[in-house]
C-alpha cells in the first residue's frame, strides 16, 4: 500500500509543480525533487519484490483506472526518478530566469508535465490511458525541445520530432485499437497464450522503434537532441528514448511474438549499433555526436533483447537470460553515462557558446571538473572496464558467444551480431577519444575556448552524482542483479534469477582490482616522475618551432580514415575552392556530413508524395460542370458494377 501512497504523493508533487513552477523556481525545484524521491522510493520497493497493482472506481475516457507497477516498469521508473532528479537540479542553474526570462517559466511547467506523463505511461495498465500518457509525453517533450524557439533550426528540429513521433503514435493507435478489438477490452496484462495476437508485434516494433531511435527510424533524434537545451537532451537521450525500449520490452513480454521477431530485432539492433556509431564518429557537433551514439546504444540494447527473443523461441536456452540481463542493465548504464555526457556537453556549451568541436580545445585547464567527468563517461560509453558500460556489454556478448558455442541455429544470427558489436565497440572508442581530446585536450582553437569557465555547483553536483552512479554500477554490478533478475522474470516468467551468475561476481572483483591498480600505478608513476624532476616546455612536435592551435588534429581529420570506409553511408558533401592565380586571394574547403537517411530517403520520399498530391489536386478546380461530370462518371461506374454484379 505504501507504494501506492508514494506514487500518489509524487503525482501530487508533479501537479503542484506544474501549477507553482512558472512563478516560483524554488518551489518547483523542491516539489520536483520531492516527487522524484517518492517515485524512487516506490520503484525501489517494487524492485525489492513487492509488485503493486490498483484498480480504481474512477473512469477516465470511459475506461476504469488500472495502475500497475511491476519490476519491469519499476526499473524504468527508477531511471526516470534518478535522471529527472539530477536534471532538475542541473536545469535550475542551466536555464535560469536571469538568462531566459521568457522561456524559463515555460521550461518549468513543461518539465513537470513531462515527468508526470512519463510516470503515467509507466504505471498505466490500460491501452487508452497509455496512449493519453504517451501523447502528453510527446507534446511536452516537443515544447521542451523548442524552448529556444527563436532559432529556426530549433523549430525545425521540434517539428521533425513531432512529425516522427506521431508517425510512431499512429502505429501505436493501430496496435492498441486492434488489441482492444481482438480482446474486447482496453485493459492490458499478460496474454501470452493468445497466439493470434502475435502479428501485432510488428506494429509495436515500428511504433516504439521510432521513439527508441532504431536505425533507420532515428531521423528525428540527432537534431532534436542536439538543438534541445542540454538538460532536455539528457532527459531525452537518457530516459525518453528508453520509453520506446520499455514499450518493446513490455509488449514483447506480455504478448506472444511471431517466430521471426528475434531475428529481426537482433538484426535491427546490430545494424543500429554499427551504423549509429559510424555516423557519430563523423560528426563535428558535440551534441549531435552524442545523439548518434544513443542510436548505437539502443542498438546494443536491442541486440540483447533480440538474442533473448531468439532464446525464448528456441526452447528457453539459458544464454538468453544473460543477453536479456545485459540489455536491461545497459538501459540503466546508458542512462547514467549518456546523461552525464549531455550534462558535460551542456557545461561546455554554457561556457563557450558553441557545440562545434573544431572551435574548442584545451578546456581542461579552465574546466577541470567537466573534463574529468566527461573522461569518465567517455570510458563508460566506450564500454571499457572497469566502468559500467563494460559490464552490460559483456553480458550481451556472453549471451551471443554462448549461443555460438552451442552451435544451434541461433548462431547464424548471433555470430555476425557479435562481430558487428565488436566493430561498433572499437568505433565507439574512436568516437570518444576524438570527442574528449578535441574538446578538452590540446590548445584552445578559438577565443571562446580561451575564455571558458567552469560550471557552478548547481550543474556540477548532478554530474558528480551520475559519475558516482556509473562507478557504482561498474564496480559492484552484483548488487544490482536482484532487481534485474526480477525484471527479467516479469518479461519471461520462467527467467526469474535470484542469484547473480558466478562470472559476474568475479568480474566485479576484477573491475575493482583494476580500478585500484590503475589509480595506484598512476600515483606511483607521478611520484617517480616528480622525484626525478619535471620540467615544462612547449610540445616537442619533432622540433617544429612555431606550432599553432589550428594545426592540431581536428574532429574531421581524426575521423577521416573511418569516415572514408563509411563514405557510402555518410556521403559527405565537400566544397573546395582552390587557391588560384599568382597571388591567390582566398581558398576554402567546407565539408558537411548530411543526415543521409533523412535527406536522401525520407525527404525525397516525402516530396514525391507531395508531387503526387499536387497532381491529384488538379482534379479539384472549382468548376461546377466538371464536378457534375465526376458524379455522373461515378454513378455510371456504380451502375455498371451493379449490372455486372462485380464480374468483369
Amino acid at each position: 500500500m505504501t507504494t501506492g501512497w508514494m506514487l500518489a504523493l509524487a503525482a501530487a508533487c508533479g501537479v503542484a509543480a506544474i501549477a507553482a513552477g512558472p512563478r516560483s523556481p524554488r518551489a518547483w525545484l523542491g516539489l520536483n525533487l520531492g516527487g522524484t524521491a517518492a517515485v524512487l522510493a516506490a520503484a525501489v520497493a517494487v524492485l525489492g519484490g513487492a509488485s503493486w497493482e490498483w484498480r480504481g472506481g474512477i473512469a477516465i475516457g470511459g475506461e476504469p483506472l488500472h495502475l500497475r507497477l511491476d519490476a519491469l516498469s519499476a526499473m524504468f521508473l527508477a531511471l526516470v526518478a534518478v535522471v529527472a532528479g539530477a536534471a532538475t537540479v542541473y536545469a535550475a542553474e542551466y536555464w535560469p530566469d536571469r538568462l531566459y526570462p521568457d522561456s524559463a517559466p515555460r521550461n518549468r511547467a513543461w518539465w513537470s508535465t513531462l515527468l508526470l506523463s512519463l510516470g503515467w505511461v509507466l504505471v498505466s495498465s490500460n491501452g487508452l490511458h497509455f496512449l493519453i500518457g504517451w501523447e502528453l509525453f510527446t507534446v511536452s517533450a516537443y515544447f521542451l525541445i523548442t524552448l529556444d524557439r527563436a532559432r529556426p533550426e530549433v523549430r525545425r528540429a521540434g517539428w521533425l520530432f513531432l512529425v516522427a513521433s506521431h508517425a510512431g503514435t499512429a502505429c501505436l493507435f493501430a496496435f492498441f485499437a486492434t488489441l482492444a478489438a481482438r480482446t474486447g477490452s482496453w485493459d492490458l496484462g499478460p496474454m501470452r497464450d493468445r497466439a493470434e495476437l502475435a502479428p501485432l508485434f510488428w506494429l509495436v516494433l515500428a511504433g516504439f522503434g521510432v521513439k527508441a531511435g532504431i536505425f533507420p527510424l532515428h531521423v528525428w533524434l540527432p537534431s532534436a537532441h542536439a538543438n534541445a537545451p542540454s538538460h532536455v537532451s539528457a532527459m531525452m537521450s537518457g530516459v525518453a528514448v528508453k520509453m520506446g525500449i520499455y514499450g518493446l520490452l513490455r509488449f514483447s513480454g506480455w504478448l506472444p511474438v511471431p517466430a521471426a521477431a528475434g531475428w529481426v530485432v537482433l538484426g535491427v539492433g546490430a545494424i543500429s549499433a554499427l551504423l549509429g556509431i559510424a555516423f557519430a564518429l563523423a560528426q563535428d557537433d558535440l551534441k549531435r555526436l552524442l545523439a548518434y551514439c544513443t542510436v548505437e546504444n539502443v542498438g546494443i540494447i536491442l541486440t540483447g533483447l533480440g538474442a533473448a527473443l531468439l532464446a525464448a523461441a528456441q526452447g528457453d536456452a539459458p544464454w538468453g537470460r544473460l543477453a536479456l540481463a545485459g540489455a536491461l542493465f545497459h538501459i540503466w548504464n546508458h542512462a547514467a553515462f549518456k546523461s552525464l555526457l549531455f550534462f558535460s556537453a551542456g557545461s561546455v556549451l554554457h561556457a563557450t557558446g558553441t557545440r562545434e568541436m573544431s572551435r574548442l580545445g584545451g578546456l581542461w585547464r579552465v574546466m577541470p571538473w567537466t573534463t574529468a567527468l566527461f573522461g569518465l563517461a567517455a570510458l563508460a560509453v566506450a564500454g571499457l572496464p572497469p566502468l559500467n558500460g563494460f559490464v552490460s556489454e559483456w553480458l550481451v556478448y556472453l549471451g551471443l558467444f554462448s549461443a555460438v558455442a552451442e552451435r544451434g541455429p541461433a548462431a547464424w544470427a548471433t555470430l555476425p551480431a557479435a562481430i558487428m558489436l565488436a566493430s561498433a565497440g572499437a568505433l565507439a572508442l574512436a568516437t570518444f577519444v576524438k570527442a574528449a581530446s578535441v574538446v578538452f585536450l590540446g590548445a584552445p582553437r578559438s577565443t571562446a575556448a580561451v575564455h571558458a569557465h567552469e560550471c557552478g555547483p548547481g550543474m556540477r553536483g548532478p554530474m558528480v552524482l551520475l559519475a558516482v552512479i556509473c562507478l557504482g554500477l561498474g564496480l559492484v554490478p552484483a548488487l544490482f542483479w536482484p532487481a534485474l533478475g526480477r525484471a527479467a522474470g516479469v518479461w519471461h516468467p520462467a527467467w526469474v534469477q535470484a542469484a547473480a551468475p558466478a562470472p559476474l561476481a568475479t568480474l566485479g572483483v576484477v573491475q575493482l582490482v583494476l580500478a585500484v591498480g590503475a589509480a595506484a600505478a598512476t600515483a606511483w608513476l607521478w611520484f617517480q616522475a616528480r622525484g626525478n624532476g619535471v620540467r615544462r616546455g612547449p610540445t616537442w612536435d619533432c622540433g617544429y618551432v612555431a606550432p599553432a592551435a589550428r594545426m592540431q588534429y581536428t574532429s574531421g581529420s581524426f575521423g577521416g580514415i573511418v569516415g572514408g570506409w563509411f563514405g557510402w553511408l555518410l556521403q559527405p558533401e565537400r566544397r573546395l575552392r582552390r587557391p588560384r592565380g599568382p597571388w591567390p586571394q582566398e581558398a576554402s574547403r567546407v565539408e558537411r556530413i548530411p543526415e543521409t537517411v533523412l535527406e536522401r530517403v525520407f525527404v525525397p520520399a516525402g516530396s514525391r508524395v507531395l508531387q503526387t498530391a499536387a497532381v491529384m489536386r488538379r482534379l479539384q478546380h472549382g468548376r461546377l460542370q466538371f464536378y457534375v461530370l465526376y458524379v455522373v462518371i461515378g454513378l455510371a461506374a456504380l451502375a455498371a458494377l451493379a449490372v455486372t454484379g462485380g464480374r468483369p
Binding site: G362, T371, G375, L379, A382, G383, L384, P385, W394, Y397, L398, F401, V404, A405, E406, R407, A411, L415, A418, I419, A422, S423, G425, A426, L429, A430, V433, K434, S437, L441, G442, A502, P503, L507, V510, G517, A518, T522, L525, W526, Q528, A529, N532, G533, R535, R536, G537, P538, T539, W540, D541, C542, P547, M551, Q552, Y553, S557, G560, I561, W565
Partner: protein
C-alpha cells in the same frame, strides 16, 4: 596463500620476460642483415635508464598525460594475467574472460591515444587517429578468431578454449592472428618501429612527447603486449593438449620464440605498406579468421 604466490610468480614472469622480445626481434633482424646488432637485453638497460631520468612535460599537457601510460600499462598487465600459461592454466579463469581481455586491450588503446592527444601536436593526432581506426578491423578480426576457438571447443573462457586441433583451421587462425599481432604491436608492414619519419608511424609517433618514467612504462607496456599476443597466438594455433607439463611449457616457449623470430623475419624481408593498403591486409586477416571459423563449424558438425 598458494593463489597469492601463483599470482606473484606469473606477474614476475610476464613483467621480467616481456622486454626480451624486442631484443630478440632486433637480434634476428641484425642476423639477417649481417650486422652484430644491439644486445638482446638492450631494452632492459633502456628501461632502467629512462626510469631514473627526469621528465619534460608539454605546457599543454594535463595530468592525463602521465595517467595515460600508467592506465595502459595496468590494462595490458591485467590482460596478460588473464591468459593461461600452457600447462599452468589460468589463475582465476571465468566464463567470458576472453572478452575482458579484448576490452582491456581497448582500455590500453584509449589511455595511450588520450595521452597522445594531450600534446596538441598534429603528429600525435595522426598517430592516434590511425591507431583507433585500424583497431576497428583488428578488433573484429580478434573477435572472429575468438569465435572460431569457441565454436571449436564449445567454451568461452580462456582456460579451456585455447585447445586447438591439428588441421587447416589452426593454420588459418595462426595466419590471421599473426597479422593482427603485427598490426596491434605496430610492426612492419603496418608501422616501422625504427623509422624517424614521423609521418609514417602509428605507435612511435604517439609517444613522441613522452620522456623519463612515463616513456619507460610505455615501452615496457608495448613489450608486454607483444609477449601477450605471441603467447595467445601460440596457444591458439599449437595443439599442446597431449603433451606432458614440461614438454608443453617447452613447446609454449619455443612457439613464442618462433613467433618473435617470425616478426623479425617479416621486418627484415618486407617493406612497410602504404597506408591505404593497411585496411586491405587487415581485411585479409579478418577473412582468414572467418574461414577458420567456418572450418571449425564444419569439422564439429556430425
Amino acid at each position: 596463500m598458494i593463489l597469492l604466490l601463483d599470482v606473484i610468480g606469473r606477474l614476475a614472469l610476464w613483467l621480467v620476460l616481456a622486454p626480451l622480445l624486442p631484443g630478440i626481434i632486433n637480434k634476428a633482424k641484425a642476423w639477417v642483415a649481417g650486422r652484430r646488432g644491439p644486445p638482446v637485453l638492450q631494452l632492459y638497460y633502456d628501461l632502467a635508464r629512462l626510469w631514473r631520468k627526469g621528465v619534460v612535460l608539454s605546457t599543454l599537457a594535463s595530468p592525463g598525460f602521465v595517467a595515460g601510460p600508467a592506465v595502459a600499462w595496468v590494462a595490458v598487465t591485467g590482460a596478460a594475467m588473464l591468459l593461461p600459461l600452457g600447462p599452468a592454466g589460468t589463475v582465476f579463469g571465468f566464463r567470458g574472460d576472453v572478452l575482458l581481455l579484448i576490452y582491456l586491450l581497448a582500455l590500453a588503446r584509449f589511455a595511450t591515444t588520450w595521452a597522445a592527444m594531450e600534446t596538441g601536436s598534429a603528429f600525435e593526432g595522426m598517430g592516434a587517429a590511425r591507431e583507433v581506426s585500424y583497431a576497428v578491423l583488428a578488433e573484429a578480426t580478434l573477435i572472429a578468431a575468438v569465435l572460431s576457438l569457441s565454436v571449436q571447443t564449445g567454451s568461452i573462457s580462456l582456460g579451456t578454449m585455447l585447445e586447438p586441433t591439428v588441421g587447416p583451421g589452426a593454420v588459418l587462425l595462426a595466419g590471421g592472428l599473426f597479422i593482427v599481432l603485427l598490426a596491434e604491436n605496430c610492426r612492419v608492414p603496418f608501422d616501422d618501429p625504427n623509422t624517424h619519419l614521423e609521418l609514417t608511424m602509428i605507435h612511435e609517433v604517439m609517444v613522441l612527447d613522452h620522456s623519463g618514467p612515463p616513456l619507460a612504462v610505455i615501452l615496457h607496456g608495448a613489450a608486454l603486449k607483444l609477449l601477450l599476443f605471441a603467447v595467445l597466438l601460440t596457444q591458439a594455433a599449437l595443439p599442446m593438449g597431449d603433451l606432458g607439463p614440461v614438454a608443453a611449457a617447452g613447446a609454449l616457449a619455443a612457439g613464442v620464440l618462433g613467433v618473435t623470430i617470425g616478426v623479425g623475419m617479416v621486418e627484415s624481408l618486407m617493406a612497410r605498406f602504404a597506408f591505404r593498403r593497411v585496411p586491405l591486409l587487415l581485411t585479409i586477416a579478418f577473412l582468414l579468421c572467418v574461414f577458420a571459423l567456418l572450418v571449425a563449424w564444419r569439422e564439429g558438425t556430425p
